[in-house]
Amino acid sequence: MTAVNGKGSAISLPISIRNVTKTYGTFTALDNVSLEIASGEFITLLGPSGSGKTTLLMVLAGFIRPASGEVRFGDRDVSLLPPHKRDVGMVFQNYALFPHMTVAGNVGYPLRLRGVAKSEIADRVQKVLALVQLGELGTRNIDQLSGGQRQRVALARAIVFEPRILLMDEPLSALDKKLREQMQIEVRHLHQRLGMTTVYVTHDQREALTMSDRVAVIDKGRFHQIGSPRDVYERPESRFIAEFIGESHLVAVSMRGGTAHYRDRPLQLAEPPRHPSGQQFLVMRPEKLKLLTGGEDGLNVFEGTAREIVYQGESTLLYVDLPDDVEVAIRQPATSVGPALPAPGTPVRLGLPAGDTMLVPAERAP
């Protein structure tokens, strides 16, 4: 499957990663990973530092040679192709903009290497700079740019030669929070407009959820879950996913006769556990919990003691101690309606809607 633009030439290519392994001495950076990325898809490799996400991206770019396995762009096996022949755009974490060239020099560099005529280079550079909203800055030196502007130049340089695959290595991590969130949306829009297959690496789970068609969560060189942002957040498949993505507290439950029990009380579940073997944990996300004052229809009820209130502006977090040294938290939006938060030390009852009651295994069955 290859997406095609109006002119009839392919604008994106599918990527196929098959059984790729990379080791450094005794350390396994990538452990036999396979992933099929659809043409035009925006996929995010999400994982903590040292998880192997950047290694995999470097394998795609051709900077790291895997020990075994295969990488295909479309029908073409690129496993042994050197980086300069892969024709993929890449945005580096530190941007890697050449300090001895101007903005236009940087953006025009890949075109000059491809022997494009001078007048056409100027034209295309101007167009792509306009696209990333830097139209006026072509003559500037790199050290005269702000962090956000550098980010845009790096992006412009990566897409000016119309690669059908775009790789991005934590491109927004150096920006402050506000600019980062703005750029997330911009990059997303740019992808929707240009349509190239995009592989995005980040350790920021919120960024991954915001931007991607699919999220591939990676840790210790293996994929732990691959799915839509909603899937990964709402239906985590393991304890690691539940803890890594979003805030959650995990509460051990016991299984008896196919039903989950919390302190001898049966729980109503959204769906039967997907990996029923081994110890199961209940995923308690702060925003899913309700502070109970009266009715408890369709809710699983937990009783505990309020411990601490943390004011966070748009919402307030209340930490609650459940019996057996288990801690959970509940988030209350900052509105004037709804029950007042109980003072620390007072008993509270929490309700978790059956539809949000999700079990995960300690470790996903291989």
Binding site: A61, F63, P83, H84, F92, A96, F98, P99, L113
Partner: protein, 306 residues
């Protein structure tokens, strides 16, 4: 906005009138810290003034004196072919040595900058080792190596590359070999320092954008190494201009350098005026070159500001 709130008004008036009681204390502290810092530099500045600037000023004064009269004769004499030829030799040799140092030093520095740190340390040690050995010892060592029946000639003859021994010393060739050997570390060190600081992502970015290794090297790596290259060129060239020991020993009196003319005037003719004029000219030329290069590429780049 036409109205200002009372609070704003009060605030502004207060700010104008209000003077922090400890403001003066902060200023005093700042002044005393500046003074302490300046005081630390005084011994160094005095030393430089006493042992560098004063003699130079004296030299300058001497170069215009003959007996007790003011004169230009020392400078006029420099137009004589003996001196212009020496000047030509000095520049030719300095250019040649600098060029060879670039040709040998650049690949070497590149290698050291690319290998693993442990190996890089070892290679750097090899580069630095000669610097820690006496200059004189190294020059005499070259005399042994390069003489008519020296190691180099006998090797070349044994391998059948030449029939008769080459004249490798007491001429331009020998002087060049010796000076390149002495100067090479001064080219390699600044180059290495600059190359080490070039982020590998630049080369990766170039490759990713479609540059073959050769194109990435010339288009990205070399320009980024310019600060170190310019620093190396200036150090080597300027040192060459005033170099004495190696040309004197390996040139065997046949390669006349500017510095040797100075020595001659002082030792044989006791003509301090002429020697001073030569010194002043050398200094002026060096400064002119530094200024010219500085104008061309900017001093901050040489010093490594960027």
């Amino acid at each position: 906005m036409t109205t200002t709130s009372l609070a704003d008004e009060v605030g502004r008036r207060d700010h104008a009138a209000w003077k922090a009681p400890n403001e003066a204390a902060y200023r005093r502290r700042e002044r005393s810290e500046t003074t302490v810092l300046a005081a630390l530099a005084v011994p160094g500045l005095l030393l430089i003034g006493a042992i560098a600037l004063t003699p130079i000023a004296w030299l300058f004064w001497l170069s215009f004196r003959s007996g007790s009269d003011f004169t230009f004769e020392h400078y006029e004499r420099l137009l004589h072919p003996t001196y212009t030829l020496t000047l030509q030799t000095t520049f030719e040799l300095s250019f040649l040595v600098t060029a060879i140092c670039i040709a040998l030093g650049y690949p070497l520095a590149y290698l050291i900058s690319q290998v693993r740190p442990r190996l890089a340390g070892f290679l750097l040690l090899l580069v630095l080792f000669p610097v820690w050995t006496s200059l004189l010892v190294r020059c005499y060592a070259w005399l042994v190596l390069l003489q008519r029946r020296g190691v180099v000639n006998s090797w070349l003859q044994d391998m059948g590359l030449i029939d008769a021994p080459l004249r490798l010393m007491h001429n331009f060739t020998g002087t060049t070999i010796g000076m390149v050997h002495i100067m090479l570390p001064f080219m390699v060190l600044p180059l290495y320092a600059t190359m080490r600081s070039i982020n590998r992502d630049y080369m990766r970015a170039a490759a990713n954008l479609g540059a073959s290794p050769v194109k990435a090297f010339w288009g990205v790596f070399v320009p980024l190494s310019f600060p170190g290259l310019f620093a190396g060129i200036i150090i080597v060239f300027v040192l060459c201009l005033g170099f004495y020991v190696t040309p004197a020993l390996l040139g065997g009196g046949r390669v006349m350098m500017w510095s040797m003319q100075i020595e001659r005037n002082v030792t044989y003719h006791s003509d301090w005026g002429a020697a001073s004029a030569l010194g002043v000219v050398l200094l002026a030329m060096t400064l002119a070159i530094l200024w010219g290069v500085g104008r061309l590429i900017g001093f901050d780049r040489i010093v490594g500001g960027r």
